[in-house]
Symmetry: C2
């Protein structure tokens, strides 16, 4: 039995679910994989908690769901920053699940990831920000310190889009990637097609919890563009940057446009595409696109995301996930840990 | 640069395509992965050819496409059996692509795989027979000799169904698997739905090369059942056997049944399912099934295969491949080799 000591930074939607997962799956992970996953430290915006013998993950989840914070745990240190915890804790893996931020240098996530890798900790993260802004730097840093970096949850929730693209397409040239990777816009577009107004659709999406307080991140295509940048870096091995993505959000679209498209058998999706150009560069685009009804990505349901890889030797490979709750996204951290210790 | 010496047994549809692939992708594999793939020996039913410095894979492919055999190569030994080549050749990997045979103890493939593993060679194979009949035995044999066994091409052509199911679902319980993994029946069912008679549909499928000389292997569901057995062994970790599969072929179906289903918005597919039962066992079934039009697998096109995994923590994961030629199936041997030497 190998003990794996985990630090978890960020106890939001994904963080507390990951704690519940550790509590529920711990015994099974021990018996199937010989790994004892020990949550030794957690941090959120209010403080930290650390216990080298292990915190109780079920208790962490319960405290957060009850409106409390890491600082309220018996081992809590109110006011301590995550970065300080990463600096002092003895751990094997940092699970970085702090809020996504594509501005302000992707902070605080980027500093967390850097600090952990510099200490030789492996990092697993569903946080897009650090990867979008510093893909190459973080990989180089990990390699220098003999650490592993995994981020399967950054591109399409719980869909193993990166694993498929990086491992299962080995030997292939990927000519084109198509992805529908943002749940929120898919949901809003479907409501618009049903005839709801923009206001009604946004209100419904907010009730359902798929629309963030600041909806522009999703609706203006930033989220889809960020995911595309990571996919292109990881799968096409091209150093894509966010500012290279030609980006159009769905807010320019009227409800009438969407309804008319449906009448013609087309389905609007916020489609992200990447095309390899003859000069070796990659053209990236995010835009609402009226897909023909028989397109693989046109058929995605309300809580589904998908990706299509067009390759030279493996045909066209399509994958999708039905993700009714954020659990699969949280579970990508478990997948990543088990991949590191396979 | 690491040299990897390959033996290829079976120069049919997949074998010669794999030779072409080696010729076309060799330089890229060297530069991207630091591996020099050296085809040192080949065998077919007429004989063998062996050269420790490497055969020319393009020439092997050309000889086969011209109606010749391994024995016709400059290094050829007419009449030598593959098993003798495996016994005498110095090689690192056996690529076993001899014809699938679920009867006669899966021979000759099973003996080839056993002999190679016993010599400590890794084995990659798209040949279902040995895995269906001796899944556990071959894994134990590989472990005892420190060899790797890969067979990603056995379950759904070039779709990495096993890699997704085994690696990307780590930590999950897979409740149910659904698969449409047989191209031939999908093609025939679609022609029947278009109103063709059984005779016309079979004739068309034969022209297109999707129907074997002995069509019962596909039409009676043996192929789909064999693939399901491997999936269940690999992904559900249950020691499934072929005789446990409740199997109904598509020949019991009349063209009128298929046409009537389409009129009601349903699509007949030869569906393979595996359900985990409360006692831990797995119920397996292959049967023509009228899927609702919005079922993921109902939407597969003529040259597509797909699989759906219902899991506890990763939601529902769906994957499909569009495979217009057998190239992706042949390329699974490259994928498997690159996975062994990653």
């Amino acid at each position: 039995m190998q003990a794996v000591r985990l630090l978890l930074v960020g106890l939001g939607n994904l963080g507390w679910r990951f704690c519940e997962l550790l509590a529920a799956k711990g015994p099974e992970v021990e018996s199937r994989y010989g790994l004892r996953l020990l949550l030794v430290g957690v941090a959120d915006s209010q403080g930290t908690a650390y216990n080298p013998d292990g915190l109780d993950p079920a208790r962490v989840a319960a405290v957060k769901k009850g409106g409390g914070s890491a600082a309220d745990l018996p081992e809590g240190r109110p006011g301590e920053r995550a970065l300080a915890l990463i600096a002092r804790a003895e751990a094997d893996v940092l699970c970085e699940a702090s809020p996504v931020n594509l501005r302000q240098g992707a902070e605080p996530g980027l500093s967390h990831v850097r600090a952990a890798l510099e200490r030789g900790m492996h990092v697993v993260t569903p946080n897009k920000g650090p990867l979008v802004l510093a893909y190459r730097e973080l990989h180089d840093l990990a390699a220098r310190h003999g650490a592993q970096l995994r981020f399967d949850g950054t591109v399409a929730g719980g869909l193993p889009a990166l694993y498929i693209g990086q491992r299962d397409l080995r030997g292939a040239t990927v000519h084109r990637i198509e992805a529908v990777s943002n749940l929120c816009t898919g949901y809003v577009l479907e409501l618009l097609a049903d005839g709801l107004s923009w206001d009604e659709a946004q209100a419904r999406a907010r009730e359902e919890g798929v629309l963030e307080a600041d909806p522009s991140f999703d609706l203006e295509g930033w989220d889809a563009a960020a995911k595309l940048v990571i996919l292109v870096n990881g799968v096409m091995e091209y150093p894509a940057r966010l500012e290279e993505v030609e980006r159009t959000g769905i807010t320019a679209l009227s409800g009438a446009d969407v309804v008319a498209a449906r009448r013609e058998g087309r389905v609007y999706k916020l489609l992200a595409t990447a095309d390899r150009l003859p000069d070796g560069s990659v053209a990236m685009r995010v835009a609402p696109t009226p897909l023909l009804g028989d397109h693989f990505l046109a058929r995605l349901g309300r809580k589904q995301m998908g990706v299509v890889y067009h390759t030279d030797i493996y045909g066209t490979i399509m994958a999708a996930i039905d993700e009714p709750t954020p659990l699969p996204s949280a579970a990508t951290m478990l997948r990543d840990i088990l991949d590191i210790y396979r």
